[in-house]
Subunit: 214 residues, 2 copies
Amino acid sequence: MVSEAKIATILIADDHQLFNDGLRTLLTFEGSPFKVIEQVYSGSDVIPAIHLVNPDLVLLDINLPNRNGLDIARQVASDFPSVQVVIISMYSYRKFVDELKKIGVAGYLLKSASKQELIACLQNVMKGIAYFDATLNGKSATLHQGDDFVKKFKLSSRELEIIVLMKQGLATPEIAIQLFLSEETVKTHRKNIYYKLKIKNLAELIRFVSEQGI
Amino acid sequence: MVSEAKIATILIADDHQLFNDGLRTLLTFEGSPFKVIEQVYSGSDVIPAIHLVNPDLVLLDINLPNRNGLDIARQVASDFPSVQVVIISMYSYRKFVDELKKIGVAGYLLKSASKQELIACLQNVMKGIAYFDATLNGKSATLHQGDDFVKKFKLSSRELEIIVLMKQGLATPEIAIQLFLSEETVKTHRKNIYYKLKIKNLAELIRFVSEQGI
DNA sequence: TTCAAAATACCCCAAAAGGGGTATGGTGCA
DNA sequence: TGCACCATACCCCTTTTGGGGTATTTTGAA
């Protein structure tokens, strides 16, 4: 928590240098309550940078080279509980939202957000108010309420496991071998997945998965 | 071509608002030879915006909603030959580089580039010098030298078209209908694509395409 | 403890995908 | 004027996928 007067120090972790620098420039203006004190471009540089500069807040991308943002968020929460983490990502990783909230992540912004949203998010977070992008709240808040969305899309962990392998380019026989299952079982799971997602072939599954950011 | 004194006007087309705005801020500094005169966030807004503001240069993302950047580049080249196009993308779309050069695109930057590279690229382009990211040149310079890479990956435009439809979740019969082709023709193209990419099924194609960022 | 799922696994069958050919007309380059 | 490549389209064949069932065991929550 930071008083009104104090300027919040920020570490930006994003491998797209132009985006990273652009963010810094966006946050650097006359009277800005923020100061970007460090920028890193690799997942493995985040923790060392926090050690060095001890920022109030980390703006963290999910897709980072060398180390995954989710993983980093976990370590920050356990090793640096006073450092606020705000995820900034291209996608609505809906399936991560609950996990991120559990970890204690303070905010989630999309790269398609506006400068105003960015500022609002950071100001809320520095006041101790969590700020999650509306497109995330809309769909994921309903996940633990028993509505249509649940009935349509709620997949079992086995089904999710198989979806991931299918997306990785494994054919049914290969998945069966990998999971020590009969091909028939994998086929059954695949049928159930298609039924639940209301799709009819692999290509549509890939599309679905991309859209949901699984 | 623009004289040293004139300030180059720029249109930025990128759906990630924070990136788009960040770019504008990066290009806006004391004595900057550039001026961002318009920003759009959707592929379908690019051509109308060019009509309106007639920029010297368009900074164009490849992955735009509603309309593909490659497609837009083609139209800009034919309808507005005086407008320079610089691609700015997350990925090294190596397979597109020859195509982009043929179209007459003046530059290709990665989002992981630095501000210095961005400035250098734009200055070169405004002097009439093409600027393609080094990681593209490294691999694509060999593209017209008849080596293995060419034989493995160089896809025809028809093949690319079919890849895109396959990735969108269309089955062979649907693609055939959409392109007014025989199913057999689509099958032939698909076979040739798989041969060129050394893959053996749709799932692997999807993976390949994701990795290459098409 | 009972009941609903999830996970397992099989049946049958049609459709599509995948892999091997061949062939023909067109286009662009040397 | 070739030659290479592209786009088109067909043949044959096997494997995989997709869609409809049914059935057993395990597991977790009421």
